[in-house]
Assembly symmetry: C2
Homo-oligomer: 181 residues x 2
DNA sequence: TACAATTTTCACATCTTCCTGAAAGGAATA
DNA sequence: TATTCCTTTCAGGAAGATGTGAAAATTGTA
């Protein structure tokens, strides 16, 4: 009976890890990184590199590199146990925290640079940098399209900013969902 | 002078296409697909396969396949010109529409399946399917973690649903941003 | 300082994903 | 129907991403 339970847990964990693996693209992290994090999250315990290697059948180097990245992202914490030289790793427990962490990370790494390039593109089509020809239709059209995009992205960016700063965003969201309808 | 303008436009377009290329990960589409769409969007004109091949230095087969995908996603439209056997392709012009299109697509393809698997995982840890052992701490902990996750994802899912259905979401968002603060 | 335990790094191997080009398929014209 | 123009398909190849394992580095212990 004990054995049956352990097996059952393992199966669920495996499914969960596999699920995390599939979410990797959505989170913008590599599949293995995601799997490791998934394992740490679902187990809810601090695991050593060897534990992870064994459980996921991944080489030591690979685990090491991905764990560092996870720590960098702030999704995983290093844990020291007294009397043990090994390091252990555990996942954040708070899902909202994990979510905002990843979202902010992606914003900083991917969205902000995009906004900057877009602005640069736009500025190269203004009268200041292009002279009288800025009035030409070919220029106008492109300028407009870039501008449209900038407006939307800036809006979304602001929204996100607001949504992610502190747990307040969540509360607001809940209200927005439950109110009217 | 004409030449200088054309060159300048080309440079901006190239930067834009490159930017789109980088956004591919964020959108969950392949880089080349993104580049083609970027070109069509920034040009604001209907281009033929040959135009695209020449402009982006991509093989015919590649362009063909990625264009079909773009049409499938609904980001690009086929356009026929009378008296011309070639087919032309043009991008949607409305950025909000493009955005919701991609978001809905991703939700359907990636998020919904995730929610389903998560629910399955959760249900395998209930007393109904596991018996008395469901009370064990090891089971409880995992059950709880999965449940937390489900709650958050379901919430976000609902929010997104609401946000993306019709342009209303945008208006609400703008209000939320401009009000209080 | 020497030693042992653990982690990190990195050249190389593997795997996956994407791209190419040519052949097959389709559609409009004569 | 034959011809021409254009698009799609797909087997094979290239490029890029990821994983491995062993040597080097680091950290703790005596």
């Amino acid at each position: 009976m004990k054995v049956a339970l352990a097996e059952r847990l393992e199966t669920v964990e495996d499914q969960f890890v596999e699920l995390w693996n599939n979410m990797a693209g959505l989170w913008g992290i590599s599949p293995t990184m995601a799997r490791i994090h998934g394992l740490l999250y679902i187990c809810g315990a601090a695991l050593s590199m060897d534990d992870i290697m064994a459980r996921l059948a991944i080489s030591r180097g690979n685990v090491s590199m991905n764990l560092s990245k996870l720590v960098e992202w702030g999704l995983v914490r290093r844990v020291h146990k007294r009397g043990d030289r090994k390091e252990y790793y555990e996942s954040l427990a708070d899902v909202w925290e994990m979510f905002t962490l990843v979202a902010n990370q992606r914003k900083r790494r991917e969205i902000d640079p995009i906004l900057n390039t877009l602005r640069r593109c736009r500025d190269e089509l203004t009268p200041e940098s292009i002279g009288g020809q800025a009035a030409k239709e070919s220029v106008q059209k492109r300028f407009q399209r870039i501008n449209e995009l900038l407006k939307l992205l800036t809006l979304l960016d602001g929204l996100a900013q607001r949504f992610f700063e502190s747990h307040k965003g969540l509360r607001e969201a809940v209200e927005m969902l439950t109110s009217e309808e």
